[in-house]
């Protein structure tokens, strides 16, 4: 697919997503009021107020989705496994443990974000230290360490849920399924996203080569060990920022990079920014559905990402199998 076409399509999707999200909700705002508010032509106070409430949520959804898709694409190259997602190495488990602890203690707001982020970093450091061991840092060792740590977090999470009083359970379950209701304005997340994207773009060609295998990459001048550590830290920080905002929102990080790969986007210099745009748009659309589908009741967005993502992905997969059949 031509890069220009790809990116203009993705940008259009993102803009449409924002427009739809900002005009949807319990109080009707038309596209005309939206345009008026954005371009400041007609300062209708009513619309302004509604948008100031909706804008942070929409922005948080977009940034979280972008972070997850970017982290997922990086993890897939790092582990050289198309099945990897941002959570495979246990980062979300650490974040969830931190978040549930604050909920159990009845703390909220900033405490929740701080604890989730600390939990994610803690988990990242444990996996990094243990997988590193004495020098060797093979893919399997990293993957196994991460999966085992994730299982350990799973047990801790179950324990915390069992300990919690009934009235806390709903909030905890929403967090575990992924929920953007308490995300707030995603300024820190946005900074992490932009910085991460810039670094990822500079690494793009090296990532293309790493996908050919470590030995081959080394012979082509890629400092493989340093690059892998950098990807690990980068993907972990992106994931930590995302789970801090929205909890463990599944599916986006696994599937968005594949949607693009199935469309023939293979070069990581295009794939990574495209994944960020598509992941952001997809989560924005899913979150808007989560807010409006059963209004006034709100659903955890994690359910909607799968409900939107599964059919879209299966259609892409089905079509690409046809293509391959003709090629092969």
């Amino acid at each position: 697919m031509r890069p220009l076409l790809l990116f203009s399509g993705l940008l259009a999707l993102a803009l449409a997503g924002f427009g739809w999200s900002l005009t949807s909700g319990s109080i009707d705002i038309g596209w005309r009021e939206l345009a008026a508010a954005v371009f400041d032509t007609d300062p209708d106070l009513h619309a302004r107020v509604i948008l100031e409430l909706r804008w942070p949520r929409a922005a948080a959804a977009f940034v979280t989705g972008a972070l997850l898709a970017l982290a997922g694409a990086l993890m897939q190259v790092l582990l050289r496994n198309p099945l990897a997602d941002p959570y495979v190495l246990g980062i979300s488990g650490g974040a969830a443990t931190g978040a549930l602890l604050t909920l159990l203690l009845g703390l909220g707001g900033l405490w929740l974000h701080g604890a989730a982020f600390s939990g994610a970093l803690f988990s990242m450091l444990i996996v990094f230290g243990l997988a590193h061991g004495r020098g060797s840092w093979t893919i399997n060792r990293l993957l196994l360490t991460g999966i085992v740590i994730a299982a350990g977090w799973g047990a801790v999470i179950g324990f915390l849920l069992a300990l919690s009083p009934e009235q806390n359970l709903r909030g905890m379950l929403f967090w575990l399924m992924g929920d953007l209701a308490y995300a707030g304005m995603p300024l820190a997340g946005f900074i992490v996203l932009v910085a991460g994207l810039l670094i990822a773009l500079a690494l793009g060609r090296s990532l293309n080569i790493l996908a050919h295998g470590e030995l081959a990459a080394t012979t082509l001048g890629v400092p493989v060990a340093a690059l892998r550590r950098l990807i690990y830290v980068l993907a972990s920080l992106l994931t930590a920022a995302a789970v801090t905002m929205g909890g463990s929102i599944g599916f986006v990080g696994l599937v968005v990079p594949h949607m693009l790969r199935l469309q023939g986007v293979r070069d990581h210099r295009l794939l990574l920014p495209a994944a960020a745009l598509l992941g952001g748009s997809l989560l924005l659309i899913a979150d808007t559905l989560a807010r409006t589908l059963l209004a006034p009741r709100q659903l955890p967005v994690g359910i909607l990402t799968a409900l939107v993502g599964v059919p879209v992905f299966l259609v892409l997969l089905y079509r690409s199998r046809e293509l391959h059949g003709r090629e092969g």
């Binding site: 500079a202 080569i209 090629e327």
Partner: protein, 255 residues
């Protein structure tokens, strides 16, 4: 022209020695063949010479500087490697794969330009893969993939080529075509070649220096006249060998 100087090299696989105290000088447009039976450590030695694996002892100097202290990017402009097999977990096209040979020459934010594409296209033409630029690598045959590996090396254009069984999966015509190509490059541009070979007669036809790995750390090196005698080869392969007179000199046949 780049020169790799190896001295006092000890390499082990587990407890088995591949070589002990090996001294070797690779450079000056010579064409080396590494011969030995399965498991003698030919690939391990090749990886060690490429800096992909630490030797147990000994020094490797690339143009006078210790190989392991040089940045990989710098090494990649001087030393190119054809690995025995390729992994691809993610799809790539033939053109994309040939282009990765340009990696050591491009800055981290720089994209491949028309000159890089021209080099890759020339390389694909040289190995007979022109017209397949847009094909997914996963749909290529084993022999086509092997030639793609050679094409990537051609775009990388190093001074020293380390090739692990370059004729693997190739039909007779392609074996000769690829080895002719490598020999022509070596003769015209002074490229030094080191080939792990199983076909003794092809090695004899294209190489002028030979490194024999007998196992248990014993090695021998020299010209064909020095080392390729019947008794040495029978010892090397653990198999009776015969010669016939061929159109280009002696042809070796297993007995």
């Amino acid at each position: 022209m780049a020169q790799l100087e190896i001295s006092g090299l000890d390499v082990h696989i587990g407890n088995t020695a591949v070589c002990r105290g090996l001294d070797l000088r690779l450079g000056g447009g010579e064409r080396w063949a590494i011969l030995g039976r399965n498991g003698a450590g030919k690939t391990t030695l090749l990886h060690t010479l490429a800096g992909l694996r630490r030797p147990d002892q000994g020094t490797l100097l690339l143009d006078g500087t210790a190989l392991d202290t040089l940045p990989r990017r710098h090494v990649a402009r001087q030393v190119g490697v054809l690995l025995q097999d390729h992994l691809d977990a993610f799809p790539a096209s033939v053109m994309e794969t040939a282009l990765i040979g340009r990696h050591p020459y491009l800055g981290s934010l720089q994209w491949e330009g028309p000159a890089d594409y021209a080099l890759a296209r020339d390389a694909l033409r040289a190995v007979g893969l022109d017209g397949l630029e847009d094909r997914n690598v996963a749909t290529l045959s084993g022999g086509e993939r092997r030639r793609l590996g050679i094409a990537t090396l051609l775009t990388q254009d190093p001074a020293l080529w380390l090739l692990d069984e370059p004729t693997n999966h190739l039909d007779v015509h392609q074996q000769i075509r690829i080895l002719d190509l490598l020999q022509a490059r070596s003769q015209a541009e002074g490229k030094t070649l080191l080939l792990v070979m199983h076909d003794l007669n092809l090695a004899l036809r294209y190489c002028n220096r030979f490194l024999l790995l007998f196992g248990a750390g014993k090695t021998a090196q020299g010209s064909a006249d020095d080392v390729l005698t019947r008794s040495t080869l029978e010892h090397l392969y653990g198999h009776p060998m015969h010669t016939l007179d061929g159109p280009r000199g002696p042809v070796w046949l297993p007995g």
